[in-house]
Symmetry: C2
DNA sequence: ATCACTGCAAATTATTTGCAACGCA
DNA sequence: TGCGTTGCAAATAATTTGCAGTGAT
């Protein structure tokens, strides 16, 4: 899990973003941001909501959704959909992006990263004239335990 | 667009699958299957429904959804979600799988494929002991026109 | 004849929005 | 003080399901 100081640094980025966008700093927004940024377990919205309320129950679902959008717009979190109808969020790690291996039976999620793939990807985008700013790469199948 | 005969061949596969699963061949199922298998433009459910009804209005939304699930279970179509809340379907091409470049501004979708990435992917799955049977690889950004 | 399938309408589920009260700056 | 923000409840929107009637084998 991310260190306290790395979360603080991201909160700082968030505040800068909010200032530039004319958004206000509020207890709820900071709470939700700390919950999501402090845990990279592909949290479901419901889990984020529950975890935030455990710390301070004065937060509503709408605020969680609205704050997640702000965090996404600020480029601090990534939105993921693994095909089970639930949207998940995890902190954007900036440095090395990672992708996912998903077990279609037990729903276990394993992360992986490959510089080789990232490089080839960039090349493909260039060939098509695209300016890519995010990507998703997911492999679905059975994990060792479920085979 | 796929040739008539290649669609026929897939319908044949579908019938075999349905027989083995104890499912019945019906006018509606074959109609929906022909619509989806005969067009690989990442069709939205609504478009599939509309296209099917244009040919024969005796089909309901539930049947479209139910048939799409059968086609997916039979491995004949792939389900795609590009983050705009709409689920899309396209025929599974078996031979070379392709992936997508998506413009976040105009929603244009460009396909690409890379043997190099596929190979590296297989290697990664093997390293983690996963038996992968499908994957999604999507690059999001701005297309040349929207930059 | 049997048992799966169909369409419709109602139910479900994730997410968004209207709005009056509230709280940063 | 003023305008953005909040939580609630109601509204949406995509998908699923219950059920009585229909149809394939």
């Amino acid at each position: 899990m991310p260190s306290q100081s790395s979360v603080d640094a991201k909160i700082e980025q968030l505040l800068t973003y909010m200032r530039s966008a004319g958004l206000k700093r509020t207890r709820q927004r900071e709470l939700v941001a700390r919950v999501v940024l402090g845990d990279n377990q592909h949290a479901k919205v419901e889990e984020i909501y529950a975890a935030a309320r455990r710390i301070d129950p004065r937060v509503g679902y709408s605020t969680v959704y609205r704050t997640l959008r702000i965090l996404k717009d600020a480029g601090l979190v990534v939105e993921l959909q693994f095909g089970d109808g639930l949207t998940r969020y995890e902190p954007e790690l900036g440095e090395h992006h990672h992708d996912h291996l998903i077990c279609t039976s037990c729903r276990k999620i394993v992360e992986f990263e490959s510089e080789e793939i990232e490089a080839r990807q960039a090349e493909i985008a260039r060939e098509h004239g695209f300016r890519v700013d995010s990507h998703k790469h997911e492999l679905y199948g059975l994990c060792p335990d479920c085979q």
